[in-house]
């Protein structure tokens, strides 16, 4: 897979798909068991120093010193990259501006709300003018408002500094909103790479999702397969995803059909394909179903709490 300069690229996949592992390998933290990768022409495994100098990272778990202020954290990071004092001060005020963190830089990280802490981590990530910025689940554990805000900032970074941004996420909306291109991965393999729009169009038709009440899914499937306007059926327990031609007017048709055959539809909904539908199409289960996500969120929250001690 190739990631272009200046784009926002998303790695989308269920938990355990290998998003963070991919990220860690690209960031020189983990050694790959096979294969290779290059960032800005540098080999990730043979030219670590050069790679490290040209990237910035925001990790999935909070990785910021709680006892220091935001400014101190930024300054710490900058000196690790050998930034001289004047350059450092200039850059700090630049990134504070960009992420609207002015006025918060002298508060201990511990005393900042989670959204602001995260923003400081993002700010730190691009202190050193990286060519590529990695964001591993940047909005995990944030409330909706903080998440939206962070999205705006990520966009702004990409616009104003022109840096390539690679992010992993299991929030579909996030990938849809932010990414120029998305790779859907599962079990360590790339299922598909394309723009969110193309991905949505690739499964083509309108989508009807419905749920039946009693558990005779096999029989219901048989009823559905007889219809020529249904292109594709995917069933999970009692819920079905149909790709159809026609859209809304098919809803009453389906309800009647179910009635005639003695099935009860408990819910039905027709919509244009979303990135989530695409995801289900390629990965075969809804992202929310993978129980890992709650666990991970809890873990992140726990880590934040612990960091507060």
């Amino acid at each position: 897979m190739n990631i272009k300069e200046g784009e926002i690229f998303g790695l989308l996949g269920p938990n355990g798909a290998g998003k963070t592992t991919t990220m860690n390998m690209l960031c020189t933290i983990l050694n790959p068991t096979s294969g290779y990768a290059k960032i800005g022409g540098y080999d990730v495994f043979k030219e670590r120093e050069e790679v490290r100098r040209s990237i910035g990272i925001v990790f999935q778990d909070p990785c910021i010193d709680n006892f220091l202020t935001g400014r101190e954290n930024l300054a710490f990071h900058a000196t690790m990259y050998h930034m001289k004092k004047r350059e450092r001060e200039y850059r700090i005020s630049e990134v504070l501006d960009l992420l609207d963190l002015k006025g918060k830089e002298n508060i201990k990280i511990d005393d900042c709300p989670a959204g602001v802490q995260r923003r400081f981590e993002v700010a730190r990530g691009f202190m050193n003018h990286p060519k590529v910025l990695f964001l591993d689940e940047p909005t995990i554990g944030l409330d909706i408002v903080a998440r939206r805000k962070l999205w705006e900032y990520i966009r702004r970074l990409n616009d104003s500094e022109g840096m390539t941004i690679i992010l992993t996420t299991h929030y579909i909306e996030e990938a849809d909103y932010l990414c120029d291109r998305v790779a859907v991965i599962d079990n360590g393999r790339i299922k598909v790479i394309d723009t969110p729009d193309n991905l949505k169009n690739s499964i083509g038709k309108d989508v009807i999702s419905l749920e039946i009440e009693n558990g005779r899914r096999k029989e219901f499937l048989n009823v559905l397969t007889g219809l020529d306007w249904i292109e594709k059926v995917e069933a999970y327990n009692n819920s079905f995803e149909l790709s159809v031609s026609g859209g809304d007017e098919r809803v009453p048709e389906l309800v009647n059909l179910a009635d005639e055959n003695g099935f009860t539809i408990s819910s039905i909904d027709s919509h244009k394909p979303t990135l989530e539908d695409t995801f289900i199409h390629y990965v075969g289960k809804t992202i929310r179903e993978s129980e890992g996500s709650m666990k991970e969120e809890r873990k992140a929250r726990r880590a934040r709490r612990r960091g507060r001690r």
């Binding site: 960031c27 933290i29 490290r52 990272i57 990790f59 990785c63 220091l68 990071h77």
Partner: protein, 260 residues
């Protein structure tokens, strides 16, 4: 890159330790409580013993004078072990990853941290010396006080290295915290920090002689209150060799440590 020691990041690591140290005042105060209790409730009362009552303590020295360098050593031992192991805290809170993805080599990172830990330990050490003097301990001379800094540095280097080795081998904070007392306390008690070697049974004496901490205590005592069991140069050489070995092993372990 090729540069093995990278001064600016090292300074930054050091500075970070200092800021944290002075920001956590409660921790600083609580680290002084135990030494204070030892001096006040053991040192002062036992000083009423008639001179010569304890074998191994010279006739013209009271017990408080004898004990103070030992308690100073204890403070250094505990704080350096913790400083060495603080890498586990950073790992726990993820900060270690942030440091390890920067283009700074690990040796510089480790040295910067260690220098920070050393500085904070020695600051605590001077506070203990201050408390001791207030309680009436006689420091023999200014040059002795300066010489004691050398021994403080060596004690810190030795046990920061040791703490770092333990931390990297155990790999997690829970494990470290559960065994730290089991390791620290024997090191402390199997030394002449509390009581002179002359009072110990023979078998214990040989253990005490194998403990590098013994030579640190002896060196501190020699330089601060002018009495030591061994010649100071003897203490110095043994401690120097031990600290270099432990720091090297510690650096190697840190080099191999996983960030996750």
């Amino acid at each position: 890159m090729g540069k093995i020691i990278d001064p600016l990041p090292m300074y930054t690591m050091w500075l970070r330790q200092m800021i944290r140290f002075f920001r956590m005042k409660a921790r600083l105060v609580s680290s002084l409580v135990m030494p204070f209790l030892f001096l006040a409730f053991l040192g002062i009362p036992l000083s009423i013993l008639p001179s010569g009552a304890m074998p191994g303590i010279p006739e013209d020295m009271n017990f408080l004078d004898y004990l103070a360098p030992g308690i100073l050593g204890m403070t250094l031992l505990f704080s350096s072990m913790m400083a060495g192991a603080s890498v586990l805290w950073d790992k726990e809170f993820g900060f270690l990853k942030e440091v390890l993805v920067t283009p700074v080599n690990r040796l510089s990172i480790m040295l910067g941290r260690s220098l920070g830990g050393m500085t904070t330990s020695i600051i605590q050490g001077f506070m203990i010396i201050g408390i001791s003097v207030l309680m009436g301990v006689n420091i023999s001379s200014v040059s002795g006080l300066l010489l004691s800094i050398v021994f403080m540095v060596l004690i810190c280097a030795t046990f920061i290295g040791f703490g770092l080795i333990l931390a990297t081998q155990l790999g997690e904070m829970e494990g470290f915290m559960s065994i730290i007392n089991m390791i620290q306390m024997p090191i402390f008690f199997a030394s002449p920090a509390f009581l002179p070697m002359e009072m110990m049974p023979h078998w214990l004496k040989s253990i005490i002689c194998l403990n590098p901490f013994t030579y640190g205590i002896d060196g501190l005592r020699g330089s601060l209150v002018g009495y030591s069991t061994f010649p100071l140069i003897h203490d110095f050489v043994i401690l120097l060799v031990t600290s270099i070995v432990l720091m090297l092993v510690g650096a190697y372990c840190f080099e191999k440590m996983e960030a996750n």
